[in-house]
């Protein structure tokens, strides 16, 4: 799933569900989907942000 162009929460969630099913071979319960949705929302939100090239991923 590419960072740009920005993804929607729905796109990210569908992708995460697919990854989880493939990796673990499990049924996606509502509880699991809710947790994946948090990560999907985070993916969507950060992918919206445009940053100047001089902004680096510094650790400190």
């Amino acid at each position: 799933m590419l960072l740009k162009p920005p993804v929607t929460k729905e796109e990210a969630l569908a992708w995460l569900i697919e990854q989880a099913q493939r990796a673990y071979g499990i049924e996606i319960t509502p509880e699991i989907e809710a947790r994946l949705a948090l990560t999907a929302e985070a993916m969507a939100r950060v992918s919206e942000v445009d940053l100047d090239e001089d902004i680096e991923p510094l650790l400190l």
């Binding site: 799933m1 590419l2 960072l3 992708w15 995460l16 990854q19 989880a20 990796a23 673990y24 499990i26 509880e31 699991i32 947790r35 994946l36 948090l38 990560t39 999907a40 929302e41 985070a42 993916m43 939100r45 950060v46 992918s47 942000v49 940053l51 902004i55 680096e56 991923p57 510094l58 650790l59 400190l60």
Partner: protein, 442 residues
């Protein structure tokens, strides 16, 4: 839960250290006082994971002999200290590692520095293990959580068993239990205290903190444990902080009460407590003004969520089968992690500028009082952004909730401003006071 008369409440760090230095008490007596308080409180608050009395007494005996011969290791000689279980203590297992955990061969740096300063390492305090909250209870109301994940550290200081405890915050785990248990705390700038020997949860977020009885005590202990550590490459390349707050030199602070994002995530009575505190501080001479954070402040919540992939990486080799819970972070492409780190850098720059004009930001520490029951150890939401950014923050007295439980006021400063933050915190403490011991203890 009352202890023996005359020994219900631990004196502060400075009081104990001073009494030992003047020969008015000994490290052995200070420890026996702690153990008496442990006996009185532990059946109710369940705050200790491991407390080896023989090992602690051996330390105290050695420190007593040293003191009698005029040798004092440092500013904490004879002061009993509790340590959150995730920190390695030589000769003891780290319970968080699970059943059959190895005996740690060496102290965490923070533990070693406490010993070097003369402290007595009393034992290890509780934290959630295996996703399960400990049975630790809030000394203000045993039906409520003390908060987490530094549950035991908050409870033993809140119950006045020891004057100070080592804690750690990856989201909200140092200041939140301090707030819920009605005591003071500092979550310093990321890297201020070495993380070496601390079980890692999220390397770029884990921050060693302290829970104590007041800002001056915290400053003294922080002076003993801060400073560059070559064993922790992320520790700040700075010397230890000064233990002296020099309050006579501290002018009334310029404070910003945050009016967006935080109030809407807090209970009405918590917001009222913030207002009341702001009025007191202003009446005492502080400059108190409204502060609005950037409208996109909420992006930090999402960037911070993705950085929690560090925890996934940490545990990837340790778990068997399907992880629990499934977060999906293990699948997120690296580009998202990099973007999240870049957002952090971006927001550090933008938010640091707030502190060009203000000495501190005021927010609630938690949305409200400690939740009832032990299943939920409280929300880190109001602490998490500052932890992710690495900014220092302290917990101050916010009074009591309508149900009689402690409330905490968070004061945040710019990165690296730990000593100034403690100074402003001590100034605020003179105005707001500190909560008395819990009614169950006093």
């Amino acid at each position: 839960m009352k202890g023996a008369s005359g020994n219900r409440l631990s004196p502060g760090v400075r009081a104990i250290a001073g009494a030992v230095a003047r020969g008015e008490t000994t490290p052995e007596q200070a420890l026996e006082d702690v153990l008496e308080r442990v006996d009185a409180t532990e059946p109710f608050i369940h705050a200790w994971t491991l407390l080896d009395r023989d090992v602690a007494r051996e330390q105290a005996r050695t420190l007593t002999l040293e003191a009698k011969s005029g040798r004092f290791r440092g500013p904490l000689h004879g002061v009993p200290v509790a340590v959150k279980d995730e920190f390695h203590i030589a000769g003891m297992p780290t319970a968080f590692r699970g059943p059959g955990a190895r005996i740690e061969p060496a102290d965490a740096t923070v533990v070693r520095r406490l010993r070097d300063a003369g402290a007595i390492i009393v034992g290890k305090t509780t934290m959630p293990i295996g996703g399960q909250n400990p049975p630790t209870r809030n000394p203000w109301n045993l039906e409520h959580t003390p908060g987490g994940s530094s549950s035991g550290s908050g409870a033993v200081v809140g119950a006045r068993v020891v004057p100070v405890a080592v804690a750690e915050q990856t989201g909200g785990s140092c200041l939140r239990p301090a707030a819920f248990c009605g005591v003071s705390a500092i979550k310093p700038t990321y890297g201020r205290i070495s993380r070496y020997g601390c079980f890692p949860f999220s390397w770029s977020r884990d921050t060693v903190g302290l829970i104590g009885l007041d800002m001056a005590d915290l400053a003294l202990v922080l002076s003993a444990v801060s400073g560059y550590d070559p064993l922790d490459p992320t520790s700040l390349h700075e010397p230890p902080l000064s233990p002296e707050l020099r309050l006579d030199d501290v002018r009334p602070p310029r404070l910003g009460v945050v009016r967006n994002w935080f109030p809407e995530r807090s209970e009405p009575y918590m917001n009222e407590a913030v207002e009341a505190a702001a009025e007191k501080l202003a009446a005492a001479g502080a400059t108190v003004e409204d502060c609005l954070l950037p409208e996109d402040f909420d992006v930090l919540r999402h960037a911070g969520q993705l950085v929690r992939a560090e925890a996934e990486a940490m545990h990837a080799g340790r778990r068997e089968g399907v992880p629990s819970p499934i977060t999906g972070l293990e699948f997120v492409p690296a580009t998202y992690f990099v973007q999240a780190r870049r957002i952090r850098t971006w927001m550090i720059g933008r938010l640091s500028r707030i502190f060009d004009e203000l000495d501190g930001l005021i927010t609630p520490t938690a949305p409200g009082e400690a939740p009832r029951g032990l299943e939920n150890n409280g929300s880190p939401a109001l602490l998490d952004p500052w932890t992710f950014l690495g900014f220092p923050a302290i917990n101050l007295n916010g009074g009591l909730s309508p149900a009689g439980l402690p409330l905490g006021i968070q004061m945040v400063a710019g990165p690296g401003q730990d000593h100034a933050l403690l100074q402003r915190g001590a100034w605020a403490e003179r105005v707001l006071g500190v909560l008395p011991p819990p009614p169950l203890i006093a």
